[in-house]
Amino acid sequence: MYIIVVGAGRLGYYLIKALLDQGHEVLAIEKRANICDNITSEMGSCCIRGDGCETATLAEVGTNRADMLIAVTGDDEDNLVACQVAKHKFHVPRTIARIRNPRHEKLFKKLGVDVTVSTTNIILEHIEKELPTHLLTHLLNIEDKGLEIVEIKIPPNAITIGKAIKELSLPPESILSLIIRKAHKPIIPKASTIIRAEDQIVAVTTPDSEDALRTILRGR
């Protein structure tokens, strides 16, 4: 695949390396001359100096034959414009933008960016997982369906312990899909499955039902 990477900062650098290792044809566009030189001397001629939001620069690097453009500069607005120019001017089939502000996700989708990666959200989710007070962690968003997959840990003092799943009044859009227990094989929950302390439950839910689901499983 021919992949164009806009922005060769810290994230861009490792991305270019990884994509080259996977055997892709990669071209990076970077404004800062010194960064550009470093990449060229280390990885060969795969970086040109320029503004990846400019039509002229993108034309020069043959963006019309690119399979993918990934914009990973530090500024959301630059990433948006690079993707929009690639999409609407050069008809690149797949555009991916890094976003800093998680709330920009919807806007970017609306404006034609195919995929957004929120570095802030990814780090937040990892931190959430490590916080013992957080009983619900986001694993995956299925955006076009408005669903999300979450993991809920049952704390030792939850009053749901010992209850069967059919006794819980789960929010309508929520499905418990998997229970992971210590020293056991993962089990697919049935109506009669009894909840135990320290269970890790993987569930499908909607952003609106998330709070209700957490409250019901924690039993408060």
Binding site: D75, L107, K110
Partner: protein, 132 residues
Amino acid sequence: MKIVIMGCGRVGAQLSALLDANGHNVTILDTDAYSFRRLPPSFNGKALIGNGINEDALKRAGISEADAFVALTQGDNRNVMAAQIAKHIFNVPKVVCRIYDPLRQELYTTLGLETFSPTAIFAQILKKDLES
């Protein structure tokens, strides 16, 4: 009319002053409070610190009730993004955006934004002047 202007540079400040003098309800946004020095003492509108690509800042500026939004920062991409937020998220009836880069301006015009490129306009004026 209620008008929100983003970017209090020379053009932003002058436009705000003109509209304000004509009796419009003007709110001007800039990330740097120092830029508000460009507003005349007679300015009756609101001057707010905030970034126009941030939805909360736009809401504070009253974007939801605005009749018009003008993006006039130094950054083409910031202008483009803020203008698209105003148009597509807040459905502001009139959105105008400055884009210095003529090629980018052409693209966003085809995507339905109302845009001006000072670069292209000024080059045309100078050309006319020199050839006359």
